[in-house]
Amino acid sequence: MEPLSALIDSILSASVDLTALAILLVFLPLFVVFTARGKAGYRFGLRPIPLYSRIRQLASHATESGSPLQVSLGSGQIGSEATPEAAMALTVFDYVARHAATCAQPIHGVSGDATLMAAAQGVLQNARQESGYPENYAGRECTFYGPDPLAYAAGAAGTFGADNHLALIALGEFGAEGLWLSEALADQATTRMGGTSDPSAAALMAASLDEAVIGEDVYAAGAYLHRPSHLGSLAAQDILRLVIMLAIVVGVIMTSLGYWS
């Protein structure tokens, strides 16, 4: 019992991040309830996000035309703080890869992180196998252009022009290289779209890309494309956002009335 009580003591110690724990404890039940409802077949209403509609159209167009899409997965390392953004990049890549694999069409994934490239190779291999064309997977369609963000952008831009791609989808963790990549392809009269959650980089990408998502919309990719299991977590996010807004309004009123300094 002593180790257990020591463990409980450590949880209750001052070193615990109580704010993070409180957010987790509020979010977790909402997440479980809404995800269960989503899995039971409840359809949540979704506001339209033009980027994801375009990705759907272009994935179909690419399979018909035979011109591949280039999915630029960003520089987010799996296992680092950028893992959620990298996961969303992989989700978009999975969607496009499944479309391409169904018709045995090419696709191209480029990343600025080696762990992300390895994960993308796994995603593509699964897509090819599940579509019944495992022989089409050669391990060459996902490329890594080095851990330097600008070198990655230059490599991705160079490959894009050389291989006659239909469109660029750059979604994931990007900094200034997102702008570099997008603008380097601006004169090729092609569709460029994507987004990132970092506010500074997102502003630059939103100015440059034809269609862009910023902030939380980046994390909605799965729910809008092919993962209905993500819908529940979107609903939980909306509820928690309302709670935060309410807390901000209450905080402003209380402070204005002089209850909090």
């Binding site: 390895a118 890594f144 252009y145 997008s182 601006a186 939103a206």
Partner: protein
Amino acid sequence: MKRIVPIGVAVLCGLTMLVDFFVAHPLVDRIGAILVEGVTILAAFALLLGLLVLLSTHARKLKRGSQPGLSLILLIALLGTLAVGVLLPGSATLTWLFDYVYYPLQSTMAALLAFFAISAVYRAFKLRNVHAWVLMISSLFLFMAQLPLAAAISPYVPMARDWLIAVPVTAGMRGILLGAALGTVATALRILLAVDHPYA
């Protein structure tokens, strides 16, 4: 089985790291440290894999004759730097390569960003919708308000500029950050509870 094992390992490792974040206990801290070390080792192996893919991609391009010059430069630079790094680690030659080849190239590319930002903003300023109007008017106001002349015109101009930055801009940034934080929590929970497994 091929999917269950990686998903199980990911969930177990993720939950352990979550517990490590909240609990200050020597045993949990040690397990967390081992897992973080494991990630570093895996990332190093992934880098090796990435290097091999890069070599094979450009060797194939060289053979196929599509942009052979660029691929040749890349291969020579990559193998040359690798050879110098392995054979003469920490030498003056390696430092020279970084100081006089790598950093100037990096600076050149970074300098292009200024021109790219201008061309992106020029396109964004095309008054297609209300957002573009708001962007243009607020940007022009902020540009003008930075000038020393602005304070001479009216003392309210610098005050309005400071208010614009401190209130609407900061509020917008915080809104984006809060939304992104909620998205991060949702994505992390989906992976931790095996609702989503984008890697398998």
